[in-house]
């Protein structure tokens, strides 16, 4: 287990370095200097020279690359061209909002998906199953930002029972209308829950065929106890993988949801960076969002070993 954990960690570090390299290459392999993109066509040559020096673009590419990696190793992401603050501190302010939003969305998706997925797996190929599966398919094809806009229209503009949450969050300890608080997370979770339900359903159908379920039933255990104690526990593992693989899509959704609900998270920082042509902010946010996914997948793989001792490591 320990040897595996160390090797798995090493793979993550390599992936992280490669991701940083790709992010770096986005700036340097593409034709045209970032300075031109930032300043536009009307820039004077003096402005170009100043910014080139400010971004260290006058150095050889390999040196810029090593500087960038070296900076990362020291936890530095550069300085914003617009805010004149370290990108790291901008990200540090924004990250809690993003993590909080994603976490609430994941938890709510799980709270819905666990009972629903187990139930329709138990009642597979009945009307209930077909109905819920169809609803899940529909839920999965409607993009999160559409749900967000529908919620804003219904709850904010028509029913007047919520506000667009803005900066309010648990981490800032500000009191908000609970509905305003959960709406963005629900809009986000509606994309995740359907895939969780579908995977859980498939797994549950599989597990119900196992011998130990028959044994449990023949011992006289209630169906509910069998469902929770035997079936759900065995179906949980693949679900964990799905949460890991879906996290990228979830963070994609976060960018849009933060934009719609004006939540000052990393996604909004990225989009703001794009509009300000603030290169260091763009690189930093892209890298941080990539790092989150790499860490989540590492945790998922390590959790496998802790949850299921049968999982063997080569």
């Amino acid at each position: 287990m320990l040897a595996y954990a160390v090797r798995r960690l090493a793979v993550s570090v390599v992936t992280l370095i490669l991701t940083a390299t790709i992010t770096f290459s986005l700036v340097h392999l593409v034709p045209g200097s970032p300075v031109e993109i930032i300043l536009g066509l009307q820039a004077t040559s003096a402005e170009i020279a100043t910014l080139t020096r400010e971004l260290h673009l006058n150095l050889p590419v390999w040196q810029q690359y090593l500087d960038w990696l070296g900076g990362l190793a020291h936890g530095q992401l550069g300085t914003s061209l617009v805010y004149h603050q370290p990108v790291l501190s901008l990200v540090a302010q924004a990250l809690p909002h993003t993590l909080e939003l994603s976490l609430v969305a994941v938890v709510m998706s799980l709270v819905v998906a666990l009972p629903v997925g187990v139930y329709i797996g138990y009642r597979a190929r009945t009307g209930v199953d077909q109905g819920v599966s169809a609803a899940a398919t529909v839920g999965a094809v409607v993009p999160g930002f559409v749900w967000g806009l529908v919620f804003i229209y219904v709850f904010v503009y028509r029913l007047h029972v919520a506000q667009i949450a803005g900066i309010a969050s648990i981490s800032t300890a500000e009191w908000v209308n609970p509905l305003s608080y959960v709406l963005p997370a629900v809009a986000l979770g509606l994309g995740l829950a359907p895939s969780l339900i579908q995977v859980l359903r498939t797994e549950v159908i599989e597990v119900y065929r196992a011998d130990f379920v028959r044994t449990a039933r023949s011992k006289g255990m209630s169906e509910l106890r069998v469902a929770i104690h035997d079936v759900l526990r065995n179906a949980l593992l693949p679900l964990l993988t799905v949460v890991g693989t879906q996290f990228g899509l979830l963070l994609s959704g976060v960018v849009i949801i933060e934009n719609i609900f004006s939540i000052p998270g990393v996604g909004n920082l990225l989009v703001g960076g794009v509009f300000n042509r603030d290169y260091p902010v763009i690189l930093g946010t892209v890298l941080v969002l990539g790092a989150i996914i790499i860490v989540i997948n590492l945790l998922v793989d390590l959790a496998y070993g802790l949850i299921d001792p049968r999982v063997s490591y080569q």
């Binding site: 390599v14 992936t15 992280l16 490669l18 991701t19 390299t21 790709i22 992010t23 986005l26 700036v27 593409v30 993109i37 398919t137 529909v138 999965a140 094809v141 409607v142 993009p143 930002f145 559409v146 806009l149 529908v150 804003i152 229209y153 503009y157 990228g248 899509l249 979830l250 963070l251 994609s252 959704g253 960018v255 849009i256 934009n259 719609i260 996604g267 990225l270 989009v271 794009v274 509009f275 763009i282 946010t285 892209v286 969002l289 990539g290 996914i293 790499i294 997948n297």
Partner: protein
């Protein structure tokens, strides 16, 4: 057993490959696939026939009927400049759907090339290197990567398509690599190699054709995601240049009027959801079929 017996419809269909009756019969047994194909065909037809079908030119402003609710004159209402929403929706179908299809096609070509190359070089440094790079690209959230690439390339149709293609390349590479590894174990590849087929011929004639099926099924599924990413890019103002009425851009300009004129957001959103639904059904259906 008779080939036409109802219990073996697949055998019957295989007995007469390419005959429309066989295909239709197989389709009838897969209502989901049929519905999906219908949606996709209608959407693609609508995008091609947009200039004929649209009741108004998509950019024709009419300040007498701004923000008109859906009704007889304008079936889906008008926007803040009095432009007909239905006509803009039809005009947007082309850029929204074709850019998604084009992006996925490019990603499939690039990803398959990388995957097959990696499979061919399996066990050597370049296999590992190629796949690690693909993993690193996959580590970035799709929309985030697309935003970064679109920013670097600048706005415009071709650049948006390129940005989306980059996002989808790694998953095709992974799929192509695993399928190619399976295929290369098979007897006919060994046979072709032993009669002296050159490497390019081996890959092009024997390996690639046999991994295309799963790639295409996966590709159709991905078109749905590509539609959403394109819409998200346009929504954020990073996709096609603003005059082009893409669905995502229609939504983002409609958000300002969400309270008075929800149809400006509702109809393009529905168009996105329905076409993603269509591509999802077709992709799943093809996946089961193969």
């Amino acid at each position: 057993m008779l080939a036409t017996s109802p219990s073996t419809p697949d055998a019957a269909a295989e007995a007469e490959p390419g005959r429309p009756r066989g295909w239709l019969r197989r389709l009838r047994r897969r209502p989901e696939l049929a519905v999906g194909l219908l949606i996709v065909l209608v959407a693609l037809l609508a995008s091609v026939l947009a200039p004929i079908l649209a009741p108004y030119p998509p950019d024709l402003a009419n300040f007498n009927v701004t923000l008109a609710a859906p009704g007889p004159g304008h079936l889906l209402g008008t926007d803040n400049l009095g432009r007909d929403v239905l006509s803009r929706l039809l005009a947007g179908a082309g850029s929204s759907l074709l850019s998604a299809v084009g992006a996925v096609a490019m990603a499939m070509a690039a990803g398959t090339a990388v995957g097959v190359a990696a499979a061919y070089l399996t066990g050597r440094f370049w296999d590992d290197a190629l796949m690690r790079i693909m993993d690193a690209v996959l580590a970035l959230p799709p929309l985030v990567l697309a935003i970064a690439v679109a920013f670097v390339l600048g706005s415009g149709l071709v650049n948006a398509v390129l940005a989306i293609a980059v996002v989808f390349t790694p998953s095709f590479a992974r799929l192509a690599r695993s399928k190619a590894l399976q295929v290369m174990q098979l007897g006919y590849v060994e046979a072709a190699r032993s009669v002296g087929a050159s490497t390019p011929r081996l890959l092009a004639r024997h390996v690639v054709p046999n991994i295309l099926g799963p790639s295409i099924a996966a590709g159709v599924l991905q078109v749905g995601s590509a539609v959403i990413i394109e819409a998200s890019l346009s929504f954020l103002g990073l996709g096609l240049a603003p005059p082009a009425p893409t669905w995502g851009f229609m939504i983002s300009s409609g958000v300002t009027y969400l309270q008075q004129a929800p149809w400006l957001v509702l109809f393009p959103s529905a168009a996105i959801a329905v076409s993603v639904f269509g591509f999802t059904l077709v992709g799943r259906g093809l996946n089961d079929w193969m």
